[in-house]
Symmetry: C2
Subunit: 265 residues, 2 copies
Amino acid sequence: MDANGSGAAQARETGTLGKLMVLLDLVTHADAPLRFTDVLALAGQPRGTLHRQLSHLVEEGLLELDGDGRYAPGLRLLDFAARSWARNEFRLIAEPHLADLQRATGETVHLGVLRGQSIIYLDKVEGRQPVRMYSQIGNASPCYCTGVGKAALSLLPAESLVDLVASLSFTSFTASTHVSAETLLAEIREIADQGYAFDREEHEAGICCVAAPVWSEDRTFMGGISITGPAYRLSMELLHQWAVPVQLAAGRIMEGMRVRLGPRR
Amino acid sequence: MDANGSGAAQARETGTLGKLMVLLDLVTHADAPLRFTDVLALAGQPRGTLHRQLSHLVEEGLLELDGDGRYAPGLRLLDFAARSWARNEFRLIAEPHLADLQRATGETVHLGVLRGQSIIYLDKVEGRQPVRMYSQIGNASPCYCTGVGKAALSLLPAESLVDLVASLSFTSFTASTHVSAETLLAEIREIADQGYAFDREEHEAGICCVAAPVWSEDRTFMGGISITGPAYRLSMELLHQWAVPVQLAAGRIMEGMRVRLGPRR
DNA sequence: ATCATTGTTCCATTATTTGGAACTTAATTT
DNA sequence: AAATTAAGTTCCAAATAATGGAACAATGAT
């Protein structure tokens, strides 16, 4: 939970839109469709106001209201997302290099970028197992307990890093999850020196990864790529070996970005 | 073009949100990131107003503004969509039956629902080829030239059907695309009798399919499933044979919905 | 049948959005 | 390099939309 960047209910300077987005967040983050009364309790707004807001969201297809009067995320969001994804330049450039890395290692490869306090996964290339589409793509995961997340944090200038880390609220997903700013910052410094990051079962028990940072020159995209797999198969020794190919792939992606986007700036 | 339901620039009764969604549509439907001036020309609004609206959308992560001052769809949309998709009950119930159908035929199977004038694809199960994730899922396609779309239309009560068809603006994607309400309505009537629909290369040259309608009891979901493939492999004779298994799979999905959702109503 | 809960509509008040113009910055031309 | 033009940003009184309390309807439980 609290996976997305909005986190605390801070007042945003986005007027009417901000209020509606809070509601959209609320409904999409819920574990099941919510009744009007449920939303009422969560949103803490006057009934009349809330009713109109929800109506507008439904009218626009951002939410859906089923026959039982329960609100669920709307399918129009899928259409928007499909477009957003299909045309994303960072992903388009990275794609072949992710596939190469997958073939070289046989394990699952991810591409993610930092947005607020979260890593949003842009692509995933899996091995032979039947792919569960959408499974990871689009997912927002915390930056402080994922390989890509920590790699991304290592790209931030000192001040931004401290600010961002200070604003985190740590959830202990496993026994190894960072739960303090101090230990996290210490590891980030180490990652910045080394040029690669590990996830030692910090987000999900039994899953670990090695990641390298990737960024675009204009800093629109700051994220990373990772090789992920089950801990029983990916020893720390193996992950250390893979640090090199991950960094090389990251370098090739950045070179691709430079060639593609550089001339224009 | 005009793939989603919003189609004509009809004034929506959704106040501020509606105006912002028009902008979001505009930017996400463009073929490339748009400069402020481009959006200005397309939206036809005062500069000051537009500037604030775009700022709000960017602030909320629905749009992104790169270093060159170009607006692109925001990645926060991916997060919303991933949640919308992950929890969609219709898809969850249909999934195993889609996989069965894929195995039985060896061809690609789709699940889609009608939203406005568009079919939004909720799932796709492909054969052995490496799956291009997101490739079709989330995509909005016209209802009048896809198998799933025509199957969905055959579920509508006469009056709604006529209204919807009247509001369509036909684009001739191939030589076989319906371009008139009359021929389309005639085929829909036929489909309603038969219980299955074909796409004879009407949306994409060389691609055809057979589809059967699927709906939930409360009519929240009206759509269909299809077996799709290249015309050279899928003769009309073969598609006719597959009409039976597609209809059977559709029936099993609906039974699954009844069991899962029925008790609550 | 009655009461309690949930969901919807209404409207004066309040807050936000609007749009024109002035202003700043960046790009282009002379 | 200076002048010119275009692009992008900020400001504020007027227009518009959102708010929230209360009354109203629909649903469901006792």
